[in-house]
């Protein structure tokens, strides 16, 4: 049974169509990536999922039933930007969020303390939000989302503003919760960050789903026709249209997407002619490449 099902969901603000007849389904126990550039309609979609706004048309089903407010007790939502009271102490704040989700004050306090220990921020328990760094605030927000032990977690840009150590700490917690059967939705424009985590994805652009399904299937569909090349010397091979469809130069190396039907070995020979090749590797396309590819096609 899917945790969330959106069926032909549509939302317009004035004449602007934020979400355009979007359908998607998130399997229970999966990690789902809702991906797309800024302004694609990710947050608008999430808001309709949890009843902050009502879709103009279409249907939202949660835990197998039409959405009801009672479902919110089983959902944890981490918003994109800080949603904490600046002048309120962390412990009071977490207790408030716990109570809003139906916990007692004592139980909320106990859980808040537990989480603060686990995320190594016990020292800031008595402080006000405005006294904490952005990364710390993000951790507090994270705890606030998990206070009521929800079955379905919605994470809107969860790793924004976190250093790699803390990002990995949060990631481990999330993977742990997923192992215990929780369903997780990641919404982000940083596709590289969640690529390794997600089972399934939905790529959206301008309010429409442009690609969705299991990540494995999608990647295999696109095949290994990307090449990563590290070289010293001239780069005029990049302009060889017969072989190279597009490329992305990262400075230290370049990623090349092969033209349809082109042979990677011809490219290797061509590069080796003029330059010194340090590395030549066939790769799965990254989500970003796939996205650019798909969006490029739909826009054209």
């Amino acid at each position: 049974m899917p945790t969330v099902e959106l069926h032909q969901v549509r939302k317009t603000y004035d004449k602007f169509v934020a979400v355009n007849d979007l359908s998607l389904s998130i399997e229970q126990g999966s990690i789902f990536g809702l991906l797309g550039p800024n302004g694609a309609g990710k947050t608008s979609t999430i808001r309709m999922m949890i009843g902050i706004t009502v879709p103009d048309s279409g249907q939202v089903r949660m835990f197998g039933e039409p959405f009801r407010r009672q479902h919110l007790k089983r959902i944890g939502y981490l918003p994109e930007t800080s949603g904490l009271y600046k002048k309120m102490k962390i412990n009071e704040q977490l207790v408030l969020f716990g109570q809003l989700h139906g916990l007692s004050a004592a139980e909320s306090l106990r859980r808040a303390q537990q989480w603060c220990e686990r995320l190594e921020i016990v020292g800031s328990f008595e402080k006000k939000t405005e006294e904490l760094s952005k990364g710390m605030q993000q951790k507090i927000q994270f705890i606030a989302t998990l206070m009521h032990d929800p079955d379905f977690l919605i994470m809107d840009e969860p790793f924004a503003g976190l250093d790699p150590v803390n990002a990995s700490l949060l990631k481990d917690v999330l993977l742990d919760l997923n192992k215990q059967g929780r369903t997780i939705l990641f919404s982000t424009h940083r596709m590289d960050q969640v690529e390794k985590l997600c089972d399934s994805i939905c790529l959206i652009n301008r309010g429409q789903a442009v690609l969705q399904g299991k990540l494995k299937d999608i990647k295999s569909r696109y095949g290994k026709n990307n090449v990563q090349i590290e070289y010293e010397g001239q780069d005029d091979f990049l302009r060889e249209n017969r072989l190279v469809q597009s490329f992305n130069n990262y400075g230290n190396y370049v990623e090349v997407r092969m033209a349809p039907g082109a042979d990677t070995q011809s490219l290797l020979r061509m590069v080796a002619e003029r330059s010194r090749v340090n590395k030549f590797e066939l790769m799965e396309p990254s989500l970003e490449d796939i996205f650019i590819d798909v969006v490029g096609k739909t826009d054209a």
Binding site: Y13, I75, G83, Y85, L96
Partner: protein, 429 residues
């Protein structure tokens, strides 16, 4: 209900812990004390400065009478509340009688005023007395209270002289010149109460200042609090657990509790310090004995007014995106208050006119104007009841309205809503 309580408690605790609450609680009574008591204290101290006055008249008896009246004014001696002040005042007054009224003496006295030897002199030669046109000459010609005292002293002396010539005894003269005191008393439920005109005006003013300042202060504070939630996107977290209506109701009730706390503190403080003794220092006799029913109405209208304007503040906070924008719309909150203040005097003077009745039933004016009507002349019970029902209904409607504006307003940030858009939001959501 549970969520509303949680939000109300949060709002309450946050506001009460703010420094501005403490400042407001202490500063407002201090300001009111300053505006009402200090000026009259300053005024009485001014007349307490040493004064040296000369009465230049050929008629020694007249001079003595004026002097006697000025040193011991009978009208003020009759008022026990202020007598203590005046004894010291008159000790500082030195009045001399000069029977020389030649032009040379006039020049000499003028020179003395100029050289600060005396503060002023009353020039009353026989021809001036006969035509009853005297002149008082001093360095500052604008000391109206001194002129007033002098005029009444001269009038009194002339009357005494005239009575004496008709053969009246000094006792008969004093009895005839005994001052008259007209007190204003209010008839309420068939009984004469002792709350007079000055007390009505004073309490009305008191309520007005209290309502006006606290509403501006906390109406704005609710507005800012809504804005903060919008701009930091706390609302996304809150709305994923509660409804906009619960949130708004919590905010408004929470700030209502703040208002209640504030007047509770003031009431206790006033009772402990003894407001009566403070007021009597003002030099005017105020009866602050309002009666229990008036105090209850004060509480009701204060709290309801507070809630209404808090709801208005919340609606405003929902509709705008930044404090700068909010400031441009503050007049929306202030206008009904200013209208109430403008119509305060007509309502006090004619509490039963159609204008007064209609105005006091308009919910945004009710807190101030209906209360004033109750204090001045108790209106029919049905009018009071109707005004309260309308007020409560409006508060509830405002709540529904602002939670709608909030729900749609939060989704439109970054763009200032036009009035037609806000109207659309109200229909929507």
């Amino acid at each position: 209900m549970h969520n509303t309580f949680l939000f109300a408690r949060r709002e309450y605790l946050e506001t009460v812990r703010k420094k501005s609450f403490l400042v407001m609680t202490i500063l407002l009574p201090a300001l009111m004390f300053g505006f009402t008591i200090v000026p009259s204290m300053l005024a009485s101290r001014k007349s307490g400065e040493p004064q040296h006055i000369v009465i230049a008249t050929a008629d020694a008896q007249f001079g003595a009478n004026v002097r006697e009246h000025m040193m011991n004014p009978p009208s003020e001696a009759a008022n026990p509340a202020t007598q203590s002040n005046n004894v010291t005042t008159k000790d500082n007054l030195d009045v001399q009688v000069d029977t020389n009224v030649t032009p040379e003496e006039e020049a000499a006295l003028t020179a003395k005023v100029d050289s600060h030897q005396i503060d002023g002199y009353l020039w009353a030669p026989p021809d001036a007395l006969a035509s009853r046109k005297l002149s008082y000459r001093s360095r500052s010609a604008s000391d109206f209270s001194a002129i007033g005292d002098l005029t009444s002293a001269v009038h009194d002396a002339i009357l005494r002289e005239s009575f004496r010539k008709h053969g009246a005894t000094p006792e008969e003269i004093s009895a005839a010149l005994e001052p008259v005191d007209v007190d204003t008393l209010k008839v309420e439920k068939g009984k004469v109460t002792d709350s007079g005109g000055a007390a009505i005006f004073f309490t009305a003013l008191l309520l007005m200042i209290l309502l006006y300042t606290t509403i501006i202060m906390y109406g704005m504070s609710v507005m800012r609090s809504v804005l903060e939630e919008k701009n930091s996107r706390i609302f996304e977290v809150l709305l994923s657990a509660a409804t906009a209506k619960e949130l708004m109701a919590g905010k408004i009730l929470g700030s209502g509790a703040v208002g209640l706390t504030q007047i509770a503190i003031w009431t206790v403080a006033a009772a402990t310090l003894g407001a009566g003794s403070m007021i009597s220092m003002g030099g005017e006799k105020f009866h602050l004995n309002l009666g229990v029913s008036n105090m209850i109405f004060f509480g009701i209208f204060f709290i309801l007014g507070f809630l209404l304007y808090a709801a208005l503040g919340a609606a405003l906070g929902s509709a705008v995106n930044s404090e700068q924008e909010a400031q441009q719309f503050q007049f929306v909150i202030l206008m009904p208050l200013i209208v109430s203040v403008i119509f305060m005097m007509p309502v006090i003077q004619q509490p039963h006119s159609t204008l007064s009745v209609v105005l006091s039933l308009i919910p945004f004016c009710t807190p101030l104007l209906m209360y004033i009507r109750i204090v001045v002349e108790t209106p029919p019970m049905w009018q009071i009841a109707l005004s309260i029902v309308l007020l409560v209904g409006t508060i509830y409607a405002m709540l529904a309205l602002c939670s709608r504006i909030y729900r749609v307003g939060i989704l439109m940030y970054g763009k200032r809503p036009t009035l037609p858009e806000i109207m659309k939001w109200i229909k929507y959501a």
